[in-house]
């Protein structure tokens, strides 16, 4: 099988691959799970905005304000189309972390009688494989409201254990917050099974799509979810922009998270009313150039085609798994084959701490992530201090994986563990 993406040609859009690493080595970037690299088209879009349209959106009647508005709202439409959503349901935040906090704090701000009001006896469901960003906001919301936090465990294989789903998602459950794809295990979770269970008891489902939205086609309606969060910077976009999508019927009932300029309808000295969504959730002058940059990034992905991106990812993941599973002294964490598994492969090497693995790979120009990956409870469950994680994207090819495999062997030799 060959990739549907011409990686060599595509790489020319990414200036960072011209950079020389330590010892003059070429960059082998295997850390897109943390953040992706940015193509020229994204940087150009940001620069174009600053040089031609820059003004504060939603304020002022001058030409630039109009153009800035058009660019910003145009970006919103592109993001909405990318996930199969309506533009009015698509909120710009600064990151997925902020998006998840927005939802959690908004629920926390809701008054008795609201469908989002939580109290003792209510239940919030998460999973053991959550990134801290989709655990701590819910854990703390539970603490503040007296609601109970429960979670899906993971199986030996590193998949969500849904065997007790009817006990976990029961009548008390108000919120189910779950990751679409684990940033450590690579596991892609069966979201529809969860949304069906949640629907039966009237709970809302919040999906952390940080690791999925940049890598395969997502349709919020098909998934049957209520909320979705992802970060622009993992999807070729700039830092400082994230997305929070929520069903319109929810957003109109929800309390704001951040308050201030631009999000109001009327204001007196003692009171205020809110603008309709999405503005209700976008207080202050937003990250306009970043939103425009994100739209350029999603256009770049759409031009390739998300089905091709997914096919390319699957090819690399299968190849990496087959190579790493066969290496002596190396253990792959999570599912051992490519079934329902994304382009993230974590592994440990007997006798070498992940930090030292990362250092050794860095010596060959390879960038990987090491440590607990902001998933400390998962590490404890797996009885690990950390892992080394290689993650793949559109600018990686099979040769990158060959270099990784060869460098692992060299590291084992260097540390005398083979």
């Amino acid at each position: 099988m060959t990739s549907p993406i011409d990686v060599a040609a595509l790489k020319r859009d990414f200036a960072i691959f011209d950079k020389k690493m330590r010892g003059g080595k070429q960059l082998v970037y295997l850390d897109s799970g943390a953040t992706s690299q940015k193509p020229r088209q994204v940087l150009d879009a940001e620069r174009f905005f600053y040089e031609n349209n820059n003004a504060a959106v939603h304020r002022g009647a001058h030409l630039l304000a109009e153009e800035a508005n058009e660019a910003y709202e145009g970006a919103r439409q592109i993001v909405a189309d990318f996930i199969g959503a309506g533009a009015d349901e698509t909120i710009f935040t600064k990151s997925a972390t902020e998006s998840l906090n927005l939802i959690a704090y908004s629920f926390g701000n809701s008054k008795p009688g609201s469908k989002f009001h939580l109290k003792a006896g209510d239940r919030i469901v998460v999973s053991e494989m959550e990134h801290h960003a989709n655990l701590i906001p819910w854990q703390q919301l539970a603490k503040r409201t007296g609601a109970e936090l429960v979670w899906f465990e993971i199986t030996e294989e590193g998949r969500l254990d849904l065997s007790k789903i009817a006990d976990v998602i029961n009548k008390k459950t108000k919120i189910v917050a779950i990751t679409h794809q684990s940033n450590v295990l690579g596991t892609i979770n069966p979201i529809q099974e969860i949304t069906q269970a949640a629907k039966k008891v009237g709970a809302v489902v919040v999906l952390d799509a940080c690791q999925s939205a940049p890598h395969f086609q997502i349709d919020v309606k098909e998934l049957g979810i209520d909320f979705l969060a992802f970060s622009g910077h993992k999807a070729l976009g700039p830092t400082g922009v994230g997305i929070c999508w929520g069903k319109g019927e929810h957003l109109s009932e929800m309390e704001p998270f951040l308050t201030g300029g631009s999000m109001i309808e009327t204001v007196t000295m003692t009171d205020a009313t809110w603008a309709p969504a999405p503005r209700k959730f976008e207080a202050g002058v937003p990250n306009m150039a970043q939103a425009v940059g994100l739209a350029a990034a999603l256009n770049y992905l759409s031009k390739i085609g998300m089905d091709r991106v997914a096919e390319h990812d699957a090819l690399l993941t299968e190849y990496a798994l087959s190579k790493l599973v066969a290496l002596p002294g190396v253990s792959v964490i999570g599912p051992q084959n490519g079934l329902d598994r994304g382009a993230v492969v974590s592994f440990t090497i007997d006798g070498i701490h992940p930090h030292d693995v990362g250092q050794a790979l860095d010596g060959n120009g390879i960038a990987v992530r090491t440590g607990h990956h902001c998933a400390w409870p998962l590490m404890r469950k797996l009885n690990l201090v950390g892992t080394t994680r290689a993650s793949f994207y559109i600018y990686n090819d099979l040769q990158d994986i060959d270099i990784l495999v060869q460098s692992i062997g060299e590291a084992q030799k260097f540390f005398g563990v083979l």
Binding site: R22, G23, H353, P354, H355, D356, Q359, A360, G363, N364, T370, G371, H372, W376, M379, V385, G386, E410, F414, F415, G416
Partner: protein, 148 residues
């Protein structure tokens, strides 16, 4: 590879055969430190007797740099008085902040000069300092305790 400059033989030796890595049953102060960026943890016991550091022992998980550095530190500190221990600690801290420019005084730092290369790798400085910072904390706790 530049690896050899970072992982000197002495470091790998200490990593494989760490000194004083078994918690003593008695101590003046016990501390627990965590490197939040990577999850490495250390527990360190320190005994102070007549102004002298009579015992430093530890347990923990971590990379070769943090393990070797802690091992070297315990060897260095045992038998010193608190004042000279803190002065050695100060020298080591400045070596770590030297961005690869300093070599370190072998008369003062002994095996710890092998860690000089770490200062070129900002991400690893915290690893090298984990045990030392735990030690510093334990000293100050011991001193306060004895003043009481």
């Amino acid at each position: 590879m530049e690896l050899e400059s970072l992982y000197q033989e002495v470091i790998l030796d200490h990593y494989k055969h760490p000194a004083n890595k078994k918690l003593s049953p008695d101590y003046t102060a016990q501390v627990h430190h965590v490197n939040t960026s990577c999850g490495d943890e250390i527990t360190l016991n320190l005994s102070l007797k007549d102004g002298l550091i009579s015992q430093v022992s530890w347990e923990g998980v971590g990379c070769s740099i943090s393990q070797a550095s802690t091992s070297i530190m315990t060897d260095l500190m045992i038998g010193k008085n608190t004042e000279s221990a803190l002065s050695v600690l100060g020298e080591f801290t400045s070596l770590m902040q030297s961005k690869g420019l300093a070599k370190g005084d072998e008369l003062v730092l002994e095996d710890a000069v092998a860690l000089a290369g770490v200062s070129k790798f900002p991400a690893r400085i915290k690893c090298a300092l984990l045990g030392w910072m735990a030690f510093k904390d334990a000293i100050s706790q011991s001193v306060t305790q004895q003043e009481k």
